[in-house]
Point group: C2
DNA sequence: GCGCCAATTTACGTTTACGTCAAAACCCTG
DNA sequence: CAGGGTTTTGACGTAAACGTAAATTGGCGC
């Protein structure tokens, strides 16, 4: 009884993450995933599975596949010189910048939603109170 | 010297928020903004300006214009009965749910980026140290 | 060997969110 | 009132991210 299998079919991943095989193949087309092959069949490794998870998380954050590509590349980049390291660090800095902006946007929005909801709840309570007396 | 003007041209807003007039008109097409008119010319009120800000924030968060529409509608909804209130509160709950997911995604990603960067920084330092001795 | 089902390739279709002209109207200025 | 800048309304184009349909291929179960 193993929890992490060592290979998956496209249907396995499609079902697990609730996306279509077409979408997964599309990500491969764009170079985001490169599964092994058994003849024609695609064989996905646990590593491929993680990449798919990263892709989908990127999508939830509203990034384009190209942006997701860049972020994922950060993870398994093997810098081959000082210049490469600098570029990598710079990429990290940029990504963080964008993410921080999003973080702020979300917190602000969450605050506003909360305000709307509590105001709404308050008015609802009032309406009900009056409703009781009137009706 | 007033800071908040009481009307703006489309070019004013386009410049302020760094979007094209075309985009702003497009949002109007989709019902996200409804500026006044002076003949043909569109006249944007401070309220319209705020709506545009909300739209752009929604875009930064990766929402579609349709989703943004729904969120914005929360702000100036004038519920006209108990059922309306309930629906509004439900909408708030959904939005919060989605935003919390995003918040989590962002925090995780930020953590990972930080890890990548610090690891990178460390390797860079080592490379430099060795480089000094060797070269 | 044959039917069946899953997976693949190819290719065209679709939706979203604008970009990019083009042509006409408006407005101010000299 | 001619010229120049701004704005408007079409209308067509486009990039991204798949959807969808059709034709093929590849095991498997009997």
């Amino acid at each position: 009884m193993r929890k992490t299998r060592d290979s998956y079919s496209i249907a396995d991943l499609a079902k697990e993450f609730d996306v279509t095989p077409r979408a997964i193949r599309f990500y491969e087309d764009k170079g985001l995933i490169t599964p092994e092959r058994d003849g024609l069949r695609r064989i996905y490794s646990p590593r491929d599975r993680v990449r798919l998870m990263l892709i989908l998380r990127g999508k939830r954050l509203g990034f384009s596949l190209k942006e997701i590509q860049e972020i994922i590349d950060l993870y398994d980049a093997e810098p081959t010189g000082e210049a490469q390291y600098m570029k990598l660090i710079e990429s990290c800095r940029k990504s963080r910048e964008s993410l921080r902006q999003q973080l702020e946007d979300i917190q602000v929005t969450l605050g506003e939603i909360d305000a709307v909801e509590s105001q709404c709840q308050k008015l609802l309570d009032e309406t009900r109170a009056h409703g009781q007396k009137v009706g």
